[in-house]
């Protein structure tokens, strides 16, 4: 299955190539979870567990399975009222 992935802020260090701000497409095996995806991108456990994970604009969990066409965004938390 194909999914679209976006990484932001310091997580851009894990971009496979320069696709800043744009989604990049990955082909994954059926049954892949968000956790598997984080590992495949090389995002260390510590950074992964504190990141905000969104699937199609809704909060997701590492154990959640992905499906064809999903859009996944991974970013650090954004705190405060103004930002």
């Amino acid at each position: 299955m194909k999914v679209a992935v976006r990484l932001y802020a310091q997580l851009m260090d894990y971009l496979p190539h320069d696709t800043m701000g744009h989604p990049f497409e990955l082909t994954l095996e059926e049954g892949t979870t968000i956790g598997d995806l984080l590992a495949r991108l090389g995002i260390p456990q510590e950074a992964a567990s504190s990141s905000i994970l969104l699937v199609n604009g809704e909060h997701g969990r590492p154990s959640q399975g992905l499906k064809e066409g999903d859009g996944i965004s991974i970013l650090p938390p954004i705190c405060g009222g103004k930002l």
Binding site: A9, G21, S50, L75, P76, P77, C79
Partner: protein
Amino acid sequence: MARGGYAGKILRVDLTARELKDEVLSPQVLRQFVGGTGIGARVLYDEVPAGVEPYDPQNRLIFATGPLNGTLVPGSGTFAVVTRSPLSGFASAGHANGFFGARLKHAGYDAVVVHGCSPDWVYLYLNDGRAELRDAAWLVGKDSWETEMALREQHGQKGMDIGLSVACIGPAGENRVRFAAICSDRGHVASSGGPGAVMGSKRLKAIVAEGSRGIPVHERDLARLKGLIKGWIDSASSSPFGRAVSKGGTAGFFSAAENMGWLPVRNLTANLFPDHPSFDGASLRSTFKTKPRACHACTFAHCLLMQVTTGPYKGLVVEEPEYEGLAAWGSNVGIVDAGTALMLNDLNDRLGMDLKEATFCASLAMECYARGILNPDDTDGLDLSWGNAGAVEELLRRIARREGLGGLLAEGVMRSSQRIGNGAQELAVYAKKGFAPHVHDPRGRWSILFGQAVSNMGSIEGSSLELSAAPDLGFPEPIPFFSKEMVPKAQARTGPKRQFEDTLGICMFLCQGSLQGMVDTLNAVTGYDLDKARALEVGERIINLLRLFNVRHGLTPDDDSLSPRLREAIPEGAHRGRSIDSVFEEMRRAYYAEMGWDPETGRPLPQTLQRLGLEG
């Protein structure tokens, strides 16, 4: 009684009588309100009765620090400015980082309370416990940066940042642009609610603060104090948010904002901005040249000087804008060159205007122009087409001078839309009290949208929790997007924490660590014995006192609301079709109830006031 943290006196300035007087704040007030917005709210409530209008000499302009200002705590240069706002007629509280808050304390004062109106332009000079008013006629007409540099030179300090600090107004404040800001330490701006216009109405051009007074500290064991501070600040700077802001600035979230549907595009007529990558922090900081420029004692150091290296403004050196500045002068006015947005952001700071109001005034005029509601006759020939940077530049200057259409827009978004008429009110972006929101398309993040509607102070009182958890406050996970149940709860519970933080005198970026660490540091500096619950109560007390002030000045639930544009559905992008309109009133009632206020009137209930030690 506090045994440390405070300079021990405040300065009262009566500009009409040209009288300066030291006063001591009661230990009870300090304990209940701690500092910053808290002290400001107490003084405002006690001294500005109904009938005292924002430009009335009897209105108060309060510069207030907190007990951590000027100590070894990193980022402790922040100060608060509280007044009755000329934009809304309600309370406003603005904050600026930098150095001024620390230097006010080193000059010997916890706060400066200004009233009256000087017959001639003056500035206030504070040095080691002494205060005097000096002639400022020679500074009139200078922009905020020129004013700061001229005063630095006058007082024997060349260059930036060292020795003394200046907080001043630019031409916008002199001309009572309703959203004029107070600018300090070049690029740090207290702007929400237009305190610069009140300063201008009093003919006070600037305050200069310098001195070498130490801040007494309760904790005798310096190693323990340093350990506490380190633990707390490390928790802030090693947090993922802290690392993100340190690395890419708040601009590091620009692309995220666009992709997730909360970037303001052309006065919220659109939601997509394909040029977003060149505005994102990662790109800005690699394309443009940077030089770190941290605030008082800040180890976090997210502030930078930035030199534009491409495009029409190549060579320009300015403060790196925050995300909001880039959104304001990029996407919201249709400008696609990041260097141009840097130029406009700098110009707006120099003229001394609130970014939120200035951009949504400009974008209102531009949308009116696109729709033929304003024509070239109305704009004195300015071509206000989206993206016309030269026209935006000239428009900002005309607003600051109150010239032509600029004079109309100088009244702020809400009033200008009413005066333009012909449907402009439907297009204008503002919260009903009369403040433009933070520079987002807040329709894409309801915490910000709703928080802006119910806030008592112009800026947002609480935090948005869609993209961060707050375990200290009972939110172990981020709240869902667009939740009519969770958003009011999150605002009610995060408000007290943010407001407590804003009493301390430190930058909000350093408040991302543990609440316990913050409370422990405050206790060690002051000798107070607050626990987390009592710290949150301080914040809640401030919100309630500001609400009482606003009720006194006519607040009704209708003022806790949003302009038609902000209730419209998002036109495109990630959240196309989403609107708060049908659930807003229900959310407001839930929020009032959560706050211990009457769900119908929004007024604090007697038992709430009693619990907080506030009179009814």
